[in-house]
Symmetry: C2
Subunit: 227 residues, 2 copies
């Protein structure tokens, strides 16, 4: 990432809705460790504040605060949605006005689980990202961070996250910025992965990576070659 882009991101607030789950907590940790201003959103203001305080303590500093998902949505310039699929649409409907004019990064994987492992759920709008775009008509919706291992993100011993992040969207300025956001994490790289209409398979690929993890006892990620 260029110094310019890094300076730009440092002027912005990154909010993480669902920032107290493993994936959201892990992403918040990595962004804060890179020196970005982070707001952790949760179901209650107290839980968000508690998670933020815990993260600052664990990192020995950092510009991290916390609040309710609504407070985090209002505070962020870039707002990551890292909530369970169950309740995804309802939360976005509730926060639609607070998220207007912002870049919203949907990170949600609509998956089901049974004895044979994980599988992709059918989504009426095509994907979680497209559902977010359908609800948040006043926001710029990007899909990203679908295939990143929460275990690695959360592990303070893991210095580098060896994976690419597919960034999906229809607005170039927004996808460029989210690629830069992914690239602040050491080892991680944001790669443009196509339009929102091609988000489903990137979300669903997480089911395959869960199968890979089970077979190989790994925390698999994906690298795009020749890029």
């Amino acid at each position: 990432m260029s110094d310019d882009a890094k300076r730009d991101l440092k002027a912005l607030t990154i909010s993480v809705l669902g920032g107290t789950g493993p994936q959201g907590r892990g992403l918040a940790r990595r962004f804060a460790a890179a020196g970005l201003t982070v707001v952790i959103g949760s179901r209650t203001s107290e839980r968000g504040a508690e998670a933020a305080a815990g993260l600052v303590e664990s990192l020995g500093g950092g510009a991290v605060t916390g609040g309710s998902n609504a407070e985090a949505a209002a505070a962020g310039d870039i707002v990551l949605v890292v909530v369970p699929w169950d309740g995804h649409k309802e939360l976005l409907v509730e926060l639609k006005d607070a998220l207007a004019g912002k870049i919203v990064v949907d990170c949600v994987n609509p998956l089901g689980f049974d004895k044979q492992g994980a599988y992709a759920l059918d989504v009426e709008e095509g994907s979680a990202t497209q559902q977010a775009a359908a609800v948040l008509t006043g926001s710029t919706v990007v899909g990203a961070f679908h295939n990143v291992s929460a275990v690695l993100l959360e592990d303070p011993e893991v210095a580098s996250i060896d994976t690419d992040v597919f960034v999906l969207g229809d607005e170039r300025e927004a996808t460029d910025l989210v690629q830069e956001l992914a690239s602040v994490v050491p080892g991680m790289r944001g790669v443009y992965g196509g339009r929102r209409r091609n988000a489903h398979q990137v979300e669903a690929l997480t089911a395959n990576l869960i199968s890979v993890n089970r077979r190989y006892k790994a925390h698999a990620g994906v690298r795009v070659t020749d890029v």
Copy 2:
């Protein structure tokens, strides 16, 4: 790959249905170059034989013959299906008896194209691989080789294909063997990617890689990290 596995594959015949298209031709080239016995199938016996002769000439040797898709299906122990999505089901229905008892590797990506690029098509059975399994009830159906660049496969100057191949299937012995088949190509590695029900997103990911190729002027592939 172990010497044992390589010896096993060398005792088998690998047929490529649709072996005169870029992807099929490229895969046939790489398997023949690795010393395997290959049969190229095409719409007519003449076209298959012609492609085989051309490949032997280009490689300066190799155990490659050609024929109709029906002849190739009958000859193969492992039969790759590398035909256009349009006509996929009809061909499999036609060859159902010839393919019984064999390992069938579906490599087909159901994609549509418009001004905005490629996108995944809806498939009634869920994916091309699942459609093949639904039709070929007497065969063992595996999905693989979805995301490999035909341009790289066909380029004699490219010595190593720097990509992993997701291998999807419900029968361990068959997916193991197809992983080994992928791994005979220098640089390429077969990685178990889950059950057939998770094939759709791997097929559809080719649409994303087409977007990547356009944006970065690349021939993108995918590597699985931590495996």
